[in-house]
């Protein structure tokens, strides 16, 4: 292993070896010459006598063991993190914002007059009856549709089994099925949307899966 001095020259460099010998001869007090890069090679290189630095430390042999110990500590920390329960992603809808817990926000309770409460009760009853009838109609419509479909397929089966087999095959293009529902007004043909950029500020949480 190459040992390097402060200025990055190898210890076994012949010029440094020369400089060391000269240093021993002339004494260490002749050292403060710094512009060594401008000098010729015959002059001493005093950089081997670092007057302002600490004495050179020896490289310790325990280094591989130390590295191993550091790695072990990191692994232990990782294992502890894995064992600890994962932080769950918060559901924003279930957390009431603090500014809504103010008492000043509470509406005063409404006392309904008798007629109003009666009207509401009667309306709710009419509505439930209406929805029940609507549901029955929908169910009957679907039932008749399915029945006619089954009858048709039976007739086809009687007539030509090959066509029937092809008709009862699955259509893979049916799903995933997407359609946008009817709006209140139709789209305007020459609509100019307002200018501006759309900044999406929804918070995205990520849960990191620790795998062993």
């Amino acid at each position: 292993m190459e040992l390097y001095s402060q200025q990055g020259r190898a210890r076994s460099d012949p010029q440094i070896r020369k400089g060391r010998r000269r240093a021993r001869l002339l004494g260490t007090w002749q050292t403060q010459i710094r512009d060594t890069h401008q000098r010729a090679s015959l002059l001493f290189f005093w950089e081997l006598i670092p007057m302002r630095a600490e004495p050179l430390r020896k490289k310790k042999k325990v280094d591989p063991k130390k590295d191993q110990a550091v790695k072990d500590r990191l692994k232990k920390r990782i294992r502890r993190l894995e064992k600890a329960s994962q932080e769950l992603i918060p559901i924003e809808d279930f957390i009431t914002p603090v500014r809504l817990l103010d008492k000043a926000r509470q509406r005063p309770p409404v006392e309904l007059p008798f007629e109003e409460s009666e009207r509401r009760a009667l309306l709710l009853k009419k509505w439930s009856l209406y929805k029940h009838q609507e549901h029955e109609k929908e169910r009957d419509a679907i039932r008749t549709m399915l029945k006619s479909q089954q009858e048709a397929l039976q007739e086809l089966q009687l007539m030509s089994p090959e066509l029937h087999a092809e008709a009862t095959k699955r259509d893979l293009n049916l799903f995933p099925f997407e359609r946008e529902g009817p709006d209140y007004t139709p789209p305007v043909s020459n609509y100019q949307p307002p200018e501006g950029r759309y900044h999406d500020i929804t918070k995205v949480y990520t849960q990191v899966e620790f795998k062993r």
């Binding site: 926000r105 509470q106 509406r107 006619s148 030509s160 092809e166 008709a167 009817p182 007004t185 139709p186």
Partner: protein, 204 residues
């Protein structure tokens, strides 16, 4: 027909029952019925495949009076069970301040802050809303009763019919084509779709 407008094809193939009249039947699936076809070996039936091309509704149906009442009631109940919003709180504060000013008859220091009253904001919003012109639910085609346009009856499901001659009579019915041996009934329907005149794009 009008310029290319996307339609979705719902039912695929329906047959024509020669003896019983129009088959009122299922949309949304590959339902098949049969008719007379000497092309099928031995059988006296002829097979025709038809296509049911639909324009789904673009606009929701108008509410019945009962539905309107119920919608209003639900809205009322929701408001009664809710908290005050920021806008409402501001309105309440301003009402209080106004009452205080009337009672005290001297100017408060906090006058400079509330130049923009809640009422002004609401008026501005109302103006902005009135500037927007939404599309008409009842279109011109409705008023003229133009049966060839796609823009009519936006709240209903429209089906394409063609007029064809059956024997002596002219009948409005679904576009159909004769089944050819070697193709499925679905293929017949697709062929019918392709042979329809006019520009449109439909997806099966």
């Amino acid at each position: 027909m009008a310029a290319p407008i996307r339609q979705s094809l719902f039912g695929v193939a329906k047959g024509w029952w020669r003896f019983e009249g129009l088959w009122a039947g299922s949309l949304g699936s590959r339902s098949l019925a049969l008719a007379a076809a000497p092309s099928i070996s031995g059988s006296p039936w002829r097979l025709l495949g038809a296509v049911c091309l639909q324009r789904p509704p673009l606009v929701s149906k108008p509410l019945t009076p009962l539905q309107e009442e119920m919608a209003a009631l639900l809205q009322q109940i929701e408001v009664e069970g809710s908290l005050y919003s920021d806008h409402e709180l501001r309105a309440l504060d301003e009402a209080q301040q106004l009452a205080k000013k009337k009672a005290d008859l001297y100017d408060e220091e906090g006058d400079e802050r509330n130049i923009l009253l809640v009422q002004d904001l609401e008026d501005a919003w109302e103006q902005k809303f009135l500037q927007f012109k939404p599309g008409a639910r009842i279109t011109e085609a409705d008023k003229k009763n133009d049966r060839t346009s796609l823009n009519r009856k936006l709240d209903r499901n429209l089906v394409l019919l063609v007029k064809e001659k059956l024997g002596d009579q002219d009948v409005w019915m679904l576009p159909q084509a004769e089944w050819q041996p070697g193709e499925t009934l679905r293929g017949t329907a697709e062929r019918t779709l392709a042979t329809l005149s006019g520009e449109f794009s439909a997806s099966l």
